[in-house]
Symmetry: C2
Subunit: 340 residues, 2 copies
């Protein structure tokens, strides 16, 4: 019923091997033969069986993307960039989320679903010390990490420390001296990005001799709601900051909302700056340090592909790739009110 390579071979008057070569564009095939085979294959509406092909060749032609979230902006945007490259390369993209969106729902370890199934793995911002990431790396297959740094595993990131410096410096240059920080969790160690951004912030605090009052720090857990609560906390102090650096745009959105709810005007009463260049940041008039998230995905996928193409013995260290960020100044930041 389903037509196989032998049907094509018979119809074209050649052997299955020749059909295989002709269709895959291999050399050492007479161009007229190739043309005839292609024509016959098209007429017969033949498509190779990926499974047979993979079984025989040992290559799976697929790469897996592992991500903690699918629908959050950063993750879906990275995924989009990844997908464009994978698809252009003619490979299959297996999507695997390790989040448990449904509380209490057990998610199998990703590694077991990867073995013998994909040629390479792309990991989007999994917590560096998570069991799941460790498992994946221990698989020992070609891997590229996005947005995180773990040992010397090939990865693509922004310079998080520098991004934080750009954001904080922008505030300092506007004359602010009490600059708040809204970070992730209180430990600040869940992600490499978190500690690096904090380091960037601290380096500017030192550089400009800004206030380093510990009360200027709050945790927003990288969510909108968390950012709002963090800003609430900052605002209800005796001596609130005149400007706040948020480690992500989403937390900054929450901070903006907190201001509005408190009857304050972002940019006039308190300046807010984020990191991301989130789609909605323009809409909310948020100053931010934009990162090319779609490109992060694209570049990581390309890097993985080239890593896979290379012979396994020579390893020219795909290494760490840094992509640039840039400060986007909007209405949420302005010079400190000299006197109120």
């Amino acid at each position: 019923m389903t037509i196989t390579i032998r049907d094509v071979a018979a119809a074209a008057g050649v052997s299955p091997a020749t059909v295989s070569r002709a269709l895959r564009g291999m050399p050492n095939v007479d161009e007229r033969t190739r043309a005839r085979v292609q024509r016959v294959a098209a007429k017969l509406d033949y498509v190779v069986s990926p499974n047979a092909s993979r079984l025989a060749s040992g290559r799976t032609g697929s790469i897996a993307v592992i991500t903690p979230y699918i629908s959050r902006w950063y993750f879906s945007t990275v995924l989009s960039g990844v997908e464009s490259v994978i698809q252009a390369a003619g490979m299959d993209l297996l999507l695997l989320s390790v989040d448990d969106h449904i509380p209490g729902h057990f998610r199998a370890a990703p590694a077991s679903r990867l073995r013998r199934r994909v040629d390479g793995v792309l990991v989007i911002a999994l917590p560096p010390k998570s069991e799941q990431l460790r498992e994946v790396i221990e698989l020992g297959m070609p891997t590229a990490l996005i947005g995180i740094t773990v040992g010397d595993a090939p990865n693509v990131t922004i310079d998080d420390e520098d991004a934080a410096r750009q954001a904080t410096r922008h505030l300092a240059n506007l004359g602010h001296t009490r600059i708040g920080l809204i970070g992730g969790d209180p430990d600040g160690t869940a992600f490499t990005a978190e500690s690096e951004r904090e380091r960037g912030y601290r380096s500017v605090v030192a550089e400009y001799s800004l206030s380093d009052d510990p009360l200027l720090h709050a945790s927003g857990y990288f969510t909108i709601a968390g950012g709002e609560q963090a800003m609430n906390a900052l605002l209800t102090q005796r001596n609130p900051p005149t400007a706040v650096f948020c480690m992500s745009d989403e937390m900054a959105f929450g901070a903006l909302r907190s201001l509005t709810r408190h009857g304050l005007t972002p940019g006039r009463d308190v300046s807010i700056v984020g990191i991301d260049g989130h789609d909605m940041s323009e809409h909310l008039d948020l100053t931010t340090v934009g990162q090319p998230v779609y490109d992060l995905g694209r570049i990581a996928a390309e890097s993985l592909l080239s890593q896979m193409a290379k012979p396994t013995d020579v390893e020219p260290v795909p290494g760490h790739i840094r992509v640039p960020t840039r400060l986007i100044v909007r209405g949420s930041t302005s010079p400190v009110a000299s006197s109120r």
Copy 2:
């Protein structure tokens, strides 16, 4: 090097066939034999080769998700719901975008990448009359559509006409009589949702004898920027609407922004209502008709799975599944100003 079913068989002192049966939980295997095989397989760290298994059995164990966009809120949220079900079922999820994010970049027809490769297909809101959708449906494999209706193909949607009625009625009940409409494209025919939402709007206009001035209609192309421009157009008329129904939250976000830019206050000067229940809608205090987007994905995936489980001869019509929506009233809507 890689260990196969024969290694397990040898180590367990049984035949490969028995290992196969034991590991897949088939009946007619002595439970002690099964236990031994499982123990040996685990000790040897054996994983079946999906390709060999698929080739031999004829089942691919994968389902494809085809979507025009990956990073837009609606699509990534649906995808997230789909993924949770597919993964729980132990199947592979192949992600395929048919969008050309990179202008001029040719995207191969999806159908050719599906044949002999997946057992079923999930399609997220592709334009009903698109070539790509037609191709996919003609494949004749188990399929479920999300957010669109095409013939009698199994699908999962909200009641778009009803959602539009809820939104428009809410405005009418607040006393508004000049209610604007921001839709997708001028034809309003790209998606089934579009024409149905327009029908719902019109039915309420008729029901409440509201103004049906054609100047109250604008096109926002389902984007934030488009929504803003549409609202601009509506606002610069001699007799602007006092309330506007936007066919999507993202267009509503744009409309809100337009109001703010014009010095108007949403909810006080002009009421705005959207459809979606977008993550940011709460943050922007937007009244909207919420749809359970994550569940749309979940339900469609489950429906597809059960469709695939059934024998092909009896077809009890998986049919059309409607999920309920609900009006969420927030600050962007309020009673019409009786006199200004």
